[in-house]
């Protein structure tokens, strides 16, 4: 399995674009937003997500909206992609109107963004800057694969305005990487981090995956040690999710690999939290740890705190003022729409106040900042959660529901009980 640049990682932080799109309401060809969606625009943080739907090969566990060259039809080539994406950036400005809307965060994910020439990524970022303007100190991230970048590439990105890079490390164990069908060698992530630092990147993240079939507790500890050793200021750790339709799912079904066990995943989570805390990383979201508040991923925090963002690219999701929409999935259909001057949006949903309340709880309860107790309306469930050790006592006294370590592992159950 040879991969020159990054692979999209399932269970990896990336996951901005799942392969299956939800059902929704139709979107007019103009892409105009429904009434009310633009109210208060500019008062909330605003960001851009740019989806790059290309991979050299597809990993065994990946179910993202990404394509190898052979899977792509005409009109959707890598060479044309920057041009097509920039068309959507220009449409975004038209749809959002003239309001002053400085961009706080930009995130390039995929697929494998670094499969495009660095100049293409820089061009797209520049177009966003031209249309909206980047806020002072804006966070600009891209995903990358440890073995795919070199110092020159990283320097070109840094020069073009990128200041954060996220490497899909996954594991430091060769046999685990093999099950995941990842190509890089165990030692490579450390070098990649060093190269990024040398190129001047302020923030570097490593993505890790745990409870892969065949991984032991010690394998996981070794991966965490290697990640910590490499010196990033941010680590994301995800339990492997076996998605239907992937090669991994097929291998498990055939009995070639065991199904990851939830109790094992719980143990691994505890190991991760302990080792990362020991190394000076503090959790700020269920699956994310950072060495300082400045090292937290602002783009993701924007997702989790009800910010607005425009998702560029096939299958990309957007959210503006309580309306969520998502683009057509296939790169060829996406390119065709934009060439024809039509919105690439496939469908959308206008959230009811109830939906928004559920989403807010579901997302904010996962954060170390927690959720205001005063806005929870199930006192008995809350009291029981505190008694059962799912909520921290100290913040509770000052009116915040903050998950304990055990609470983080049962967050979904608690959200179900609270809604």
């Amino acid at each position: 399995m040879i991969s020159r640049t990054g692979h999209r990682v399932r269970g990896g932080r990336l996951g901005h674009v799942p392969s299956t799109l939800p059902d929704g309401d139709p979107v007019p060809p103009s892409g105009d937003l429904p009434e009310g969606a633009l109210d208060g625009l500019g008062e909330r943080p605003f960001g851009f997500y740019v989806h790059v739907p290309f991979c050299v090969t597809r990993c065994g566990y990946c179910d993202f909206n990404t394509y190898t060259a052979s899977e792509l039809g005409p009109g959707a080539s890598r060479e044309d992609y920057a041009h097509t994406a920039i068309r959507e950036v220009r449409r975004a400005r038209a749809n959002l109107g003239d309001v002053d809307l400085p961009v706080e965060t930009v995130f390039f994910g995929g697929g494998t963004p670094t499969l495009l020439p660095a100049a293409d990524l820089v061009r797209i970022l520049a177009a966003i800057g031209e249309e909206f303007g980047l806020a002072p100190g804006a966070e600009v991230s891209t995903e990358a694969n440890p073995e795919s970048v070199d110092p020159a590439y990283l320097e070109e990105l840094r020069g073009g305005g990128f200041n954060r890079v996220s490497f899909g490390m996954q594991s430091a164990r060769e046999h685990v990487l093999r099950v995941l069908e990842r190509a890089h060698t165990p030692g490579r992530p450390a070098h990649a981090v060093a190269e990024a630092r040398a190129a001047g990147f302020e923030h570097v993240n490593l993505d890790l995956i745990y409870s892969t079939p065949g991984e032991s507790d010690d394998d996981w500890r070794a991966s965490l040690s290697a990640a910590i050793e490499a010196g990033p200021d941010h680590v994301s750790a995800y339990s492997l999710i076996v998605e239907d339709g992937t090669r991994l799912a097929a291998r498990i079904r055939r009995g070639e690999l065991p199904m990851p066990d939830d109790d094992v995943a719980a143990d691994r989570y505890l190991i991760a939290d302990a080792m990362l805390a020991e190394a000076g990383f503090e959790w700020y979201e269920v699956s994310n740890w950072a060495t300082s508040e400045a090292a937290r991923c602002r783009h993701n925090l924007l997702y989790w705190t009800g910010g607005d963002w425009w998702g560029v690219g096939p299958g990309a999701h957007s959210h503006v003022g309580g309306t969520r929409w998502w683009n057509v999935k296939h790169p060829a259909a996406y390119a065709q729409r934009l060439t024809a001057g039509v919105s690439p949006a496939h469908a959308r949903e206008v959230l009811t106040p109830g939906d928004r309340a559920v989403e807010r709880l579901m997302l904010e309860l996962r954060l170390s900042a927690g959720f205001p107790l005063g806005e929870l309306d199930r006192p008995r469930v809350v009291a029981r959660a505190l008694a059962d050790g799912l909520l921290e006592v100290e913040p509770f006294k000052t009116g915040r529901a903050v998950l304990t370590l055990r609470g983080r592992l049962l967050a979904d159950a608690l959200v179900r009980d609270l809604t």
Binding site: G12, P22, D263, Y269, E349, L409, L410, D412
Partner: protein, 613 residues
């Protein structure tokens, strides 16, 4: 005109029934008789013409009896044959006995490839005790596997005739059916009664019809019943007017002249509930009532009980309505509301037996579109406390707490017919079910009748299933009530996190309490999803815990990631999970999915599932 209803000379009437096992071809033989006597032409013929309910036709069994009037000429004399179709299952023995009482003769119909079965044997004994004329017949002689010589010898041995006297027919091809009808005329005695005496007619069946109300099937013993006549039901004392009176041939035909001595037909009085016109009761004239009823009326007595609950609690009113409707047509069905902490609102229902239970349940689900959970079937227990108080327990969760002195349970005499190679298997099974061997007889060289007394409670607990699987399906079973017996019975409760789940309580023999407890606890551990806390499952007799399992606490219930594109998907998943939560039943703090109850209870009613086959 001397064979018109109401004007028929009893001397030309022959009333007979067919005693046969479920799949020995009774309905097919009846079909041929309808065709050969010309009452149904070939164009209108359909298979199993007389079986009315879908369930009857699908399962190939008759639940309710029927009576058909057939013309048949012998030696130039027109005769009237009344064929009374009898139910073929042990649950309906009482109804069988009433059908037999309405006849002077019985065709004993036996599959030439299988030989006689236990239930047939039981009904044959009933007929012989009634001094009825038995006409032995082997059916399906066209089958390649038929062994007419062997089974003719077996039958001859049973009824005390010569093997040559056993007639051989094929209901399928019609071979031998004419000869059989001739034989009926020749051998079955004509009915005898007093034409001028006050009317007495035996009700041998009573059926509710949506359009007509209750249709009551009768055999006139003495006197005459006419239309627009006030009649009296002698056991209930109720009087009704006959709005219509007639015969079935095989479609209803109004009899303007009524019905006379020896005749079989139906009457309609406009009553809406079969309990007002009960099988076994005697109909007499309201104006000139008979002094004494015909003998043998018994009130149907439920033997097996089970709780029926709608899976969707909102269906409770529909379930009540459906039971009300079924009862219109089923005088043996009894029910009363009950509440289960685990299952909600439902009904405790009493049935004649397992098949009756299964049929009721199936009709509720099929005809009334209800989804039901039924609790494990149980029998009636009499409990005497040390202070002398007595309780009748039809629901294990109501078994009294405190100092129990003695417990009595209903017993049955069970008869198993089986090829002799399986004797060991049967004895092992029956012994294991607390059976007492009463005797054993060879019906032929390789077929044996084994008799046991046994608690009914052991039979309704997957006995039939075991019997069939241990004998490769060859064994057949019949049983009849045989009093009560004191037994060492205990109630086993199943507790989730210390709370008893009423639906899982069972009354079992003390030697089996442990295995019941262990098995149930294990099963529930598999079926109940892990909760946020550890859930102990215990089986207990009173305060004494006899088995324990643990459902370990769930430790991880969180999706690792939730980014921009995941939010809609995750919210929808959450909503779906919440919907699922609504279908959970709470036992204390433990969420138990409805499916867990269904699955835990269904395996135990598997005996009922098999009994219908």
């Amino acid at each position: 005109m001397r064979i018109q209803p109401g004007q028929t000379d009893p001397a030309v009437i022959r009333n007979f029934c067919i005693i046969a096992h479920i799949d020995h071809g009774k309905s097919t033989l009846a079909d041929r008789m309808l065709q050969i006597t010309g009452v149904v032409d070939d164009r209108s013929m359909r298979a199993q013409y007389l079986d009315r309910m879908d369930i009857e036709r699908e399962r190939g069994i008759t639940i309710k009896s029927q009576a058909v009037r057939l013309p048949w000429q012998v030696n130039g004399t027109e005769h009237v044959l009344n064929m009374i179709d009898t139910p073929g299952h042990v649950d309906f023995t009482y109804e069988v006995s009433r059908s037999l009482q309405a006849c002077e003769g019985a065709i004993l119909l036996v599959d030439a490839a299988q030989g006689i079965e236990a239930q047939t044997l039981a009904n044959l004994y009933l007929a012989m005790n009634n001094d009825m004329t038995i006409i032995p017949v082997l059916n399906k002689i066209d089958l390649p596997a038929a062994q007419p010589e062997k089974y003719a010898a077996e039958i001859a041995h049973l009824i005390g005739c010569e093997p040559e006297e056993v007639l051989k027919v094929s209901g399928k091809t019609g071979v031998g059916v004419r000869e059989l009808l001739d034989h009926v005329v020749e051998k079955v005695p004509a009915p005898v009664g007093e034409a001028t005496a006050p009317a007495r007619a035996l009700i041998f069946d009573s059926v509710y019809d949506t359009y007509r109300g209750v249709v009551t099937y009768v055999r006139v013993m003495d006197g005459h019943l006419g239309k627009r006549e006030r009649i009296l039901m002698m056991s209930s004392g109720a009087t009704h007017e006959t709005l219509e009176i007639g015969v079935i041939s095989p479609e209803p035909k109004i009899a303007d002249k009524g019905l006379g001595v020896g005749e079989v037909g139906y009457l309609i009085t406009g009553v809406k509930d079969v309990r007002q016109s009960r099988v076994g009761d005697t109909v007499t004239s309201g104006a000139r009532p008979a002094a004494d009823p015909l003998s043998g009326y018994e009130h149907p007595k439920p033997m097996v009980f089970s709780g029926l609950y709608p899976i969707d609690g909102d269906d409770y009113p529909e379930l009540r309505e459906a039971l009300d409707k079924l009862q219109l047509n089923d005088a043996a069905l009894v029910y009363e509301p009950e509440t289960s902490a685990a299952l909600g609102f439902g009904f405790r229902c009493g049935f004649l037996g397992l098949l009756h239970m299964e049929i009721v349940r199936e009709r509720l689900e099929r005809e009334f579109n209800l989804s039901l959970i039924s609790t494990a079937p149980n029998v009636i227990y009499q409990v005497i406390m040390e202070d002398g108080k007595e309780f009748t327990v039809t629901n294990p969760s109501e078994f009294p707490t405190g100092k129990v002195d003695r417990v009595f349970e209903p017993m049955v005499k069970a008869t198993v017919l089986v090829p002799s190679e399986f004797i060991g298997a049967i004895m092992e099974l029956c012994q294991n079910r607390r059976g007492n061997l009463q005797g054993m007889d060879y019906l032929s060289e390789d077929r044996v009748e084994i008799r046991y007394t046994m608690p009914l409670g052991e039979i309704i607990f997957d006995f039939f299933d075991q019997l069939k699987s241990r004998t490769r399906g060859y064994a057949s079973l019949d049983y009849e009530p045989s009093g009560e017996q004191e037994s060492e019975l205990v109630k086993v409760d199943i507790l989730l996190q210390g709370e008893a789940v009423d639906a899982f309580s069972a009354i079992v023999h003390k030697d089996k309490a442990y295995s019941y407890g262990v098995e149930m606890a294990k099963k529930l551990r598999e079926l109940i999803p892990r909760q946020q806390f550890e859930v102990p499952i215990q089986a207990a007799i009173g305060a004494r815990v006899i088995a324990r399992e643990n459902i370990r606490a769930i430790r991880k219930d969180v999706l690792a990631k939730c980014y921009g594109g995941d939010i809609s998907r995750k919210r929808k998943l959450l909503e779906k999970q919440k919907e699922g939560k609504k279908r959970m039943k709470m036992v204390g703090r433990v969420e138990v999915p409805q499916e867990a109850f269904v699955a835990a209870l269904s395996t135990e009613s598997s005996s009922a599932d098999k009994a219908k086959k």
